[in-house]
């Protein structure tokens, strides 16, 4: 394949270029305003989120960190429109969210691939659901599969792939319908350290290239620091926001190479989480 065609295929993946605005002047993508959510199970009521207010701007990469079970996944499910808030307002793209949010792609720890479909058919599935014709959807699926580096595995079935490859198939399937926003719920926690680094790098590149807004839930502080523009630290349940930290991400930065400033942020988050926990000081 010659360079001109390569350029053409990559360029056609990019939606309208997000203008290089100062981050605080970009439009708001997701806005949580005093949102509360609880669940009733086995007759007991658990408050997952309490009065959480959070604004995510377009093109921003936001990581949510905090103790297990602190309602971070609930926050993603709310942003996806899979749950409704008990109290408070939730807006997406300036409008109140009333049902499943089809502008988002959702990637969890579970690959959620269909075992009876090939890689190509799995990736093309969201377009099939949206009524895109067969030649067009296969073409789009092939392009994004090549972009995540699985060109030679189109005809393979999920059971024949490694965990890292399945994750990339899931990522390709999420991106194939060009969502504005990615919701990522500990997507890489089951992968080995090396594979995780490679996929994180690939994700960061795709996010910049496609101008995606990202909400990432993670327990890996290094992952949060390496990838995000903003890190939101949550308290124990019911989750409140303890602090919001800006992470400077100069253009062209290699996420695989940590910087001295990262250590400061790491320690700051760790102190916040330790203050919030019941654990006695070591």
């Amino acid at each position: 394949m010659n360079a001109a065609i390569m350029n053409a295929t990559t360029a056609s993946l990019v939606p309208e270029k997000l203008e290089r605005l100062e981050s605080h002047r970009r439009p708001v993508a997701i806005a949580f305003d005093q949102v509360s959510k609880g669940f009733r199970s086995h007759g007991r009521f658990t408050q997952a989120l309490e009065n959480v207010s959070l604004e995510v701007r377009r093109g921003e990469f936001v990581s949510l960190v905090g103790p297990s079970g602190s309602g971070k996944t609930t926050l993603l499910n709310l942003a996806a429109g899979l749950l409704r808030p008990d109290a408070g307002q939730l807006e997406y793209g300036g409008a109140k969210l009333t049902g499943p949010n089809t502008q988002v792609g959702y990637l969890t720890q579970d690959d959620a691939l269909l075992p009876w479909r090939s890689v190509l058919a799995n990736v093309a599935l969201p377009l099939e659901v949206r009524g895109v014709g067969r030649p067009e959807r296969l073409e789009a699926a092939r392009r994004i599969i090549a972009r995540v580096g699985l060109k030679d595995f189109e005809k393979h079935f999920p059971a024949q792939l490694s965990g890292g490859m399945r994750k990339r198939v899931a990522l390709a399937r999420t991106l194939v319908y060009r969502p504005e926003t990615l919701l990522l719920d500990e997507p890489f926690s089951a992968l080995d350290a090396q594979t995780r680094l490679v996929i994180q790098k690939q994700l960061r590149e795709l996010v910049s290239e496609l101008g995606l807004t990202v909400l990432l839930v993670t327990h890996d502080l290094h992952e949060a620091i390496a990838l995000s523009d903003t890190i939101v630290v949550f308290s124990r349940r019911p989750a409140r926001i303890l602090e919001t930290l800006e992470v400077p991400q100069p253009a062209g930065r290699d996420i695989l190479r940590p910087r001295a400033a990262d250590e400061q942020i790491y320690l700051k988050i760790w102190d916040l989480l330790a203050d919030d926990s019941d654990l006695p000081d070591a």
Binding site: P100, V104, W116, V129, F157, Y177
Partner: protein
């Protein structure tokens, strides 16, 4: 034996009883046992086995050939088979539809499942006299009874199949913009195929049992009727001939269907 046999594809465990070393002696032993039983039956002294009650294998074979020549067996088997096929289709359609509804709409599942469980526990054969009053004797009564018996296997297969689908998969389709029907067609139904094959494995023999039971209770056709009329005129050769042919048809149908659905990737 090494931990991974290169002849076995990695994602498939070797099937029990199909190891090359085991197969031949097991089959030989099975054939030997059947041969011994047939010989004992054939050559037992009249003091032990009364011909007029038990007949002899050669007489049964002669009866089978006589009926095959006259076409009686084929005609009666076809009648029974029609009831079985129609019953499986009707029971399968209603069962899969009901199971999918109950498995994908939680509120509906809570509403439907308890009464289904209740009816499943009821001996369905008790309905045959009622069905005879409602539908008369004949193919429709037999088909409806068979459908009613096999319904439960298909209902539970698709109900459990749909409920076994991980939430992450259905959420993925919801966010991709999939309608309820698309989720059933692209996700819940294919995910239930493994369950449905397991259900079918049970449903086919039960379909034959039901159709023949209905025929034995009251019918003028079918292999069940042939067994009953032979027994009532003290013709054990005819009775065994009909039973043997029934066995042959039932086993071939099960074998053919399961062979077709045998290799499948369709489960989550």
């Amino acid at each position: 034996m090494s931990s991974r046999d290169p002849r076995v594809p990695s994602d498939r465990a070797p099937r029990e009883g199909h190891l090359v070393g085991d197969w031949l002696p097991v089959r030989c032993a099975q054939i030997g046992i059947v041969a011994i039983i047939l010989c004992a039956w054939q050559f037992a002294p009249a003091a032990l086995l009364d011909d007029t009650l038990t007949s002899r294998p050669t007489q049964i074979a002669a009866q089978i050939f006589k009926w095959l020549n006259s076409g009686v067996l084929q005609q009666e088997a076809w009648f029974t088979l029609s009831a079985v096929i129609a019953g499986l289709l009707a029971g399968g359609l209603v069962g899969i539809g009901g199971g999918m509804l109950a498995g994908t709409v939680p509120a509906l599942g809570r509403l439907i499942e308890p009464p289904v469980k209740f009816l499943f526990a009821l001996p369905k054969i008790a309905f045959v006299p009622l069905f005879i009053v409602w539908f008369g004797i004949g193919l429709s009564q037999e088909t409806i009874f068979t459908a009613m018996v096999v319904f439960f296997f298909f209902f539970y297969a698709s109900f459990n199949g749909a409920r076994s689908v991980p939430t992450a998969l259905s959420n993925m389709l919801i966010l991709a913009g999939g309608s309820r029907w698309q989720r059933v067609r692209l996700l819940y139904l294919p995910a239930s195929v493994g369950w449905l094959l397991a259900g079918l494995r049970l449903a086919i023999p039960y379909a034959f049992v039901s159709a023949v039971s209905a025929e034995v209770i009251s019918s003028q056709h079918g292999l069940g009727n042939l067994v009953k009329t032979s027994a009532s005129v003290m013709d054990p050769a005819g009775m065994f001939a009909a039973m043997f042919f029934l066995l042959l048809v039932s086993v071939s149908v099960s074998g053919a269907v399961l062979f077709l659905g045998g290799r499948s990737r369709w489960s989550v």
